[in-house]
Symmetry: C4
Subunit: 194 residues, 4 copies
């Protein structure tokens, strides 16, 4: 058996590093030497295609992390099957900076969308498996909120992949749907528990 508190510490560390590393690819080229303020503003504006995936990935990681801490369990320890899935989950989290860079550079090509949306889809599915393996899982209002946000991530990932066949650039916006999850959950709160 493995201590859940220790697993939480490593997860928090990996989320913190992954969320901060994301920004490292949003940078002006070394050889960029603007002559005046207008050129600098232009250069900064040119970072927009990298900034959108960055914001998206930060949102996905942040909302996943929040979802995870909402799942309640009275168990102090977890078994081998749980930690195997948990390691796979962390592996997917550490890959987020990689797929974010790919989609930031090649957003106009459909395979970049498949990679990125396939990645978020896997995160949602493995996260779902992980939660259902949690011993002594409390199936309360928090659990229903967690279900809602995981389902939304799955739907928007599939939608992004479908859209990529028509217009890769607009496919990313389908994933931005996830950022609506918090708003939806606030609405749920007013009818359910918090």
């Amino acid at each position: 058996m493995f201590s859940k508190a220790r697993l939480d510490t490593l997860s928090d560390g990996i989320f913190a590093v992954a969320m901060t590393l994301l920004v490292l690819d949003v940078r002006l080229p070394e050889e960029f030497h603007p002559r005046d303020g207008a050129e600098l503003l232009e250069g900064l504006a040119g970072l927009w295609p990298k900034l959108l995936p960055y914001l998206l990935s930060f949102g996905v990681l942040g909302l996943r992390w929040l979802s995870n801490i909402q799942v309640r369990s009275r168990a102090d320890h977890v078994g081998r099957e749980y930690v195997n899935w948990w390691l796979l989950y962390l592996l997917l989290i550490t890959c987020v900076p990689f797929t974010t860079i790919v989609v930031g550079r090649y957003a106009s090509l459909a395979p970049a969308i498949w990679l990125y949306a396939g990645h978020t889809l896997l995160i949602a599915l493995v996260g779902m498996r992980l939660t259902l393996l949690t011993p002594q899982l409390a199936k309360d209002a928090h659990f229903r909120q967690w279900q809602l946000s995981a389902t939304l991530l799955i739907i928007s990932s599939l939608l992004a992949i479908a859209l990529s066949f028509i217009s890769p650039r607009s496919a990313l916006f389908a994933l931005a749907l996830n950022l609506l999850a918090p708003l939806m959950r606030r609405w749920t709160n007013s009818t359910g528990a918090d």
Copy 2:
């Protein structure tokens, strides 16, 4: 509801990574091959324009973090609105290495100052919103010190933006005013509580 202790762990991790990543842009170029000690000293001295923003950003992040842990609350859990603002706050923190690099390279151009000072302004404003949303906030002497430091960051950010229209290079020094905050707070301590 979300556990405040877990939010604190992720925040601490993100601050720690962001504060350490800052130094990665303060480096001599790969192709720099000094022939003697004098040339090396010259090369190191040439890093000064990158070092100042680095020190400034480290100071801003460190003082923000200290301010945050000063705010007292008896609440163990926070609601959805609080965590939404908290995620936005962390997003701003992870962006600090990016804007620090921009201002370190292009400090002579006004838009670099707008970006950097606008960023510190946003950090102060979102941090203020976050604190006021804290449930069961204790409005004691610590709270007044927190107000003082947030206000100082807002004023010095606005001052830096105003100065950038006259002399971008000197605008950064307006932001260095924040480093005075600890001294001011020590003075407050001698008259108030600690």
Copy 3:
């Protein structure tokens, strides 16, 4: 004497950073500009030789970390000899991104395998020394599982070095044997304690 809880915090931080930094070398070259989706897919497929060592190192780090938290001790504090070995262990952990990059680039050359498998061998040996130095070590079922996984890492490292003289590329697969450890341990669980 040194507090074991504090040592655990630093170890968790170092494992979290090392596991996340691994991905930084899995990237498409800056000058890669695919004209269509097929070229991008080709470029991504070309990352496979870097991806395998990445997965391997993530697995080694993750399983080592899980093994470490399985070792039980009632001691709150550890002595100077323990922390000396512990620092050496952390040093080996921080080197994992380095040897992973080397084996990812030069997997067809035997010395790259010697470096990588020699590294995992050292991690297993130093980890073994560290565990045996743990004060008040509980020699229970968890301890036997830990022995099994450390022994497996030693055997597969030696096997990889031996194989590197015949075929360096296939040597890496010997190390992938470690990923079988969790399965073996699950089998142990069904006969022993958990």
Copy 4:
């Protein structure tokens, strides 16, 4: 007043990141394409001048961190003056990767030694000031061990600076004296308390 437990969390995070980032500069050049194993071994052997400072810095950071957790205090909170020195201390820690890179590249030039040894000297002095500011400091055997290790770091830093005027390359070895500290402390243990 600031919670000492929270300060410890941020310190641990910053030490963990700094200790892991150190390895990022120990890398073979991108354009290095060895034709056979002998050339790869040569390339790896050529990393030695970067590896020594890396080991040294890892040792300095690790031993500093261990020294810090040895200092005992019954105080839960610390005042403004303490946190100001503590922030300065963390700033010095985050700079370690920078000075390590400089000394790894230009170890044959005296100013690189001045920068590095001056840095370790500052870390020792600020750490000393920080410890003496600790409220309710227990001046026991641990405190004497801490004094011994801080004094040794100061002496070896000064020795390295002095040696740099004669032979910069050998100056680094003066700093390696610090790694003797643990051995000396073990000897102290046999006569004093632990």
